[in-house]
Amino acid sequence: MIRKKVTIDGNEAAAYVAFRTNEVIAIYPITPSSNMGEWCDAWAAENKKNIWGETPSVAELQSEGGASGAVHGALQTGALTTTFTASQGLLLMIPNMFKIAGELTSTVFHVSARAIAAQALSIFGDHSDVMSTRSTGFAMLSSNSVQEVMDFALISQAATLEARVPFLHFFDGFRTSHEVMKIEQLTEDDMRAMVTDEMVFAHRQRALTPDAPVLRGTAQNPDVYFQGRETVNPFYNVCPDIVQAQMDKFAQLTGRQYHLFDYFGAPDAERVVIMMGSGAEAAEETVEYLMAQGEKVGLLKVHLYRPFSINHFIDALPKTVKILSILDRTKEPGAAGEPLYLDVVNAISERYNEGTLPFAYPKIVGGRYGLSSKEFTPAMIKAVYDEAKKDKPKNHYTVGINDDVTHSSLEFDPNFSVEDPSTFCGMFYGLGADGTVGANKNSIKIIGEGTDFYAQGYFVYDSKKSGSTTVSHLRFGPKKLRSTYLVNRAQFIACHVQVFLEKMDMLKDAVEGATFLLNTKATKDDVWNSLPMTVQKDLIQKKMKFYIIDAYKVADEVGLGGRINSIMQTCFFAISKILPKEEAIGMIKTAIKKTYGAKGDKIVQMNFDAVDKTLANLFEIEVPAEVTSTTVLKPFVPAEAPEFIQEVTGQIIGGFGDSIPVSKMPIDGTYPTDTAKWEKRNIALEVPVWDPAVCIQCNKCVLVCPHAAIRAKIYDEGLTSGAPATFKAVKFKAKDFGDNLSYSLQVAVEDCTGCGLCVDVCPAKNKQETRLKAINMADQLPIRESEAANWEFFLNLPEFDRTKLNVGAVKDSQFLQPLFEFSGACSGCGETPYVKLVSQLFGDRAIVANATGCSSIYGGNLPTTPWAKNKDGRGPAWSNSLFEDNAEFGFGFRLAIDKHNEQAKTILMKLSAELGDRLVLDLVNAQQIDEAGIYEQRQRVVALKSKIEELLQAGSDKKADLEHLLSLADYLVKKSVWIMGGDGWAYDIGYGGLDHVLASGKNVNVLVLDTEVYSNTGGQCSKSTPRGAVAKFAAGGKPMGKKDLGLMAMTYGNVYVAKVAMGANDAHTVKTFLEAEAYDGPSLIIAYSHCIAHGINMETGMKNQKAAVDSGHWQLYRYNPDTAREGKNPFRLDSKGIKIPFKDYAYLETRYKMLTKSHPEMAARLIEEAQKDVTDRYKMYEQMASDKAE
């Protein structure tokens, strides 16, 4: 049978089989496995069928714990059920995994294996998660490539039904889950042949049913639990043979023969590496190369890791083996060795002890590699084989890093390569938003499906959400591709954004004679002189071919704006000549039609026009013989940055993080704050420019700036002497603080992302030209240097005295220094203005617990953090525990701080005589209800510390108490605990904990940055998602209404609850934050946060916020228990009524509008129901607000 060749990634390959061989699918998003659930949800929404002609039920749960519970339940009631997860998500499934296995239940969990958060979170791939499930009783089957993912998804499904042992089918996160490869697609006939009806009947027959009732899930006592646990042994004993039999059956169907352990290498190999996962592909490629050099090497690829079949394992090894090198992609601190290593040691030892080892006892060494998707290259693999040659090879080594602390690492030659010259390798540098990755995915499909070539694509993104760089690594060729590592010998390099050349040495990976394609605004005549020196040198020395195109011009001409994907793709095919030009263009157009056909003829035509116009704008440039440029790469961080920033942060910024040795890394995951300021990203093409003549000094622009890149200061006149010539200052219009103050509004043009929110909210208009406001966007480049100098001068102007400001007013609040600046959040982010406001109002005494999500990524993803410090060195302390436990994590902060405070007060009272009664009483009774109160308490603490030092020096006999008090004295100043996160956390996975913490009565401040969707993982539906909105996992529009989190919290009566939307009422937002923080108990602020996942113009996001409020969808209110204590109604509805129909707001946003295009009738019904939701809820709140207090 000829099967279809498809070019897909590992996640799609797994989902393809899982969807067709299951009846129930319970899902929850987590990177990098989310896509599997997304595929299944999308297919279900399209009513696609499984092999029994039914559409599987796809249900999203509130957490992975919930998903695994639902899986367990569905399995117990007889449905073929699956789920997808990774990392922390898999850990949350462990309790149910024990149950499912203990009950001998057939299922397959598909896992894109990912690192577990330890000293830091990492979304990238390794085996830490799957190794944590070894004891659950799940069988574990490892796929090493995209083809294997599809094949093993089916083999494991068949095997689990036959064996009654549940399976964990895993493959490497990102390297396999996101690698796009050309593979052979299994047919539904293949699936039917492997998963027989008899297997299904048997599974169904074990279901719980009242028609034949049984009891399962008993509690057992010491007398029988043990025996009961041993009953499953026979099933595990035969499981490996069952898997092998299914593999053999599969081979008969498809011709692809797999074994539990697949050996590749010399039949007489002496040095054998044992490993599993994607790295084995690169190892196989390396072994082939080394064998050709005459080396006696081999590789044992582990597929069935659990149950670990010693017999199959020993049989698979060559009898000539002398040393086994076992590579684990995980770390178990304190263990005698990593898991696979220990299993091998045990297997060899057992067989040796039995006297049945068919070869001499070999040396066995183990090593760790590839944690968190660390590159694992042939160079590293060769180092492993070379190490095995030594008389005394290292054991428990690492490879791929420089461990200069415990010296575990193997050295390797980075120049070693086994790339086949017949394989085409290309690298494409693009901007996140320009379509480069999408175009390359299309190119791979075109080549993969239009030629006999093998094709592979892998995509690397930086960790910023705005102005991010993407690098696409593409390989094509006649030979099977096993290079599971980045391209570093490129025949083709494309730079889609010229400014990247200033920041990175892009051509270092080019081979001699390679081609360089540059998207540039420079002309044919000018382009050479626009290149940095290193680029010119490489072009000359490597005898490269050089092409240019102004893709932005072409895109503009055809109406595509910044989307240059089709243009650059056409250039690539035209230059690379992988396919005949006409054929390639025909295939590009077919791909365009396929990709955009459903989105409208106009989109297709624009892309066709782009393709047609490209060739006329593509020019080959003759490379001159001489280097003319004097431009060198900029330093990654300025010279004045601290040592750590230079040696670690700067290296990461520059793309050299891989070379940072262990000794330079913080030992416990603790990093300095106040570092984003060193990373001058210069990503905005346009930045705001202040016009003081028009400005009314309202500071609204400062409030809404998501990146704290526009700031206002008032300061004494006269301080501007010595200012740069272009520095702007005017008289401060308000007289609140006297007549002699200057006002400056300054933009950090190198940190601004150019979102334009500030311009949109500016209320002041130029009286001569109403198109102009008090701030207007202008090109960044011409003013970059002068404004950078102005920014520096501005920073050095003194901050205005906080104690004098009326911080309850928007204007004054924005004279407070932001201690959250220049984050990597999306341009125009709707969350960060709230976070920044917290940092301004309370940052110098705040401690932040941050749930995993967007805010933890833009807040804490290396290289830098936006959390900053003031001149006194104070600022928010920040940490992220997990996604699900954030409320409890912050609650823990509160308990500790309160205990420290209590202890300090106890000692104070005890030592009152020595310390001075007046000081002690003032310290203990300090009100600290405003900035002045805080300031005074800080002064008292200074006095206290000084007094303690004095007493200690005088030899006081209260030394122990005094020293305790000294270490606790700072806790006498009020600390503000902030628990932050998105709606995915607060409404779903963390709700149980949040509810408990709110019920505790403790003084914590919870800020929910409500985007009504899981933003960080790509827009999955949460319980906050409103009815009628389209989200992933709700592809057909969310049919249920939005959860009313605020109302639920209000039922406790002692929780301060508020909903705010800065774009609708900024004064309300500021007032609410102050009230919430001042409330001596739990506070919950739910903040409407516009988001790119809404499909809106981010520069006018504040208008969407206003529309949300005007429609009544988002009510502004405050519930203040303190008011109730005064005998008044604690609930106050601050919205001013419903002013527009819900649809007038909703249809401003793509998330609602797209449903009218995909499911118009459903859209019409849901929008009507959503209107009712809004009206009913609003009426209820009006009623609550009108209630008289008792």
Binding site: A42, G561, G600, K1032, A1035, G1095, T1150, S1158
Partner: protein, 329 residues
């Protein structure tokens, strides 16, 4: 009383038709129109530009954020079966045809010549009884002469005429150097009817925000003077059906327009103001007026006050300019 009339080849029971506007977007309102006695309905306009805009908007918002983050390679669940074209509009036509007996006159505002013809074909296939070309175009290009503009109008009508067999009318604005010449040329290009006149919305200035705001005002009875004159001028002198629109509020307005030469009168502002049931009131009063004034049918009076048939045709021409001003004093 015989109120029957023919318009665009359609046999209509009376001359009152709701004109293109928001009311026709709702099937229930259309049913109410039928119940109130409307003779036909002109649907709201299908705007090619709007369809393109919506498609581009969704494309822009879904694609600009795709593939920019390792965690989120996209932000939307993208349906494969996507209706980015005029599907809603076409389905609406079909539904009206299925659920009412009203003749349906679709209204189209194209952008490109290809758009005009393609959508016209699809409208015909969907079952519309006639097509009104809403050539809503403000001439603001300094490089475009009046000749160029007139040619554009004629090219559109010719192109659509070549593609569909449906009767077509053209809804015109009043701003032509020669309305009479234009009417004749449109007839030659293949138009079966002219709708006089389109009212271009006129934006306002908001003094608080210093923004230009699209402030839509309903037409007032005064607005009917312009179409009244031109229908009277054209009646019997061009071989197309004439439809009057703008400022028609009551039965007397209908009578005046028919006397001037209109086959039908299109109403919207009065329906927005008084509700769809106003059609029934107008028809009752029209019957009463005709009976009271001893008319036998509408046809009897049609064109009786047109330029062609009136005692003093100069009253319709510019020659009476001074007289009008004088009478105002």
């Amino acid at each position: 009383m015989d109120l029957k009339t023919k318009y665009l080849g359609l046999e209509l029971k009376n001359p009152i038709i709701p004109s293109a506007g928001p009311l026709s977007a709702d099937i229930n309102t259309i049913k109410q129109m039928e119940d109130a006695g409307a003779a036909a309905v002109v649907l709201y306009s299908l705007f090619e530009e709007q369809i393109e805009h919506e498609a581009l908007e969704i494309y822009h918002h879904t694609s600009k954020v795709a593939d920019s983050s390792a965690e989120a390679t996209s932000y939307f669940a993208e349906p494969i079966d996507y209706k980015a074209g005029p599907e809603d509009y076409l389905k609406h036509i079909q539904k009206i045809k299925e659920t009412t007996n009203l003749p349906v006159i679709a209204s189209l505002n194209g952008k490109s010549l290809g758009g005009w013809t393609e959508y016209a074909k699809q409208i015909q296939q969907a079952g519309a009884d006639a097509l009104e070309l809403n050539i809503y175009r403000l001439a603001t290009d300094f490089n475009q002469s009046s000749l160029d503009i007139e040619k554009t109008y004629l090219d559109i009508v010719r192109a659509v005429r070549n593609e569909v067999t449906l009767p077509i009318s053209v809804k015109l604005g009043p701003f032509f150097s020669s309305v009479a010449w234009m009417a004749k040329e449109l007839e030659k290009a293949g138009a079966n009817g002219l709708v006089l006149f389109n009212r271009f919305y006129q934006p306002d200035i908001d003094l608080d925000t210093l923004e230009v705001v699209p402030n839509v005002l309903l037409s007032t009875p005064m607005a009917m003077r312009l179409p009244l004159r031109w229908i009277a001028m054209l009646y019997g002198r061009v071989n197309v059906d004439l439809a009057a629109t703008s400022g028609i509020y009551n039965e007397k307005d209908v009578v005046k327009m028919v006397m001037a030469g209109a086959q039908v009168t299109q109403v919207l502002s009065c329906l927005l103001k008084f509700g769809v049931g106003h059609i029934a009131d107008m028809l009752t009063r029209l019957n009463y007026w005709l009976e009271a004034n001893e008319y036998e049918s509408l046809d009897q009076m049609r064109g009786s006050m047109s330029y062609k048939n009136v005692a003093d045709p100069a009253q319709f021409e510019r020659a009476n300019y001074m007289k009008v001003l004088h009478s105002y004093k």
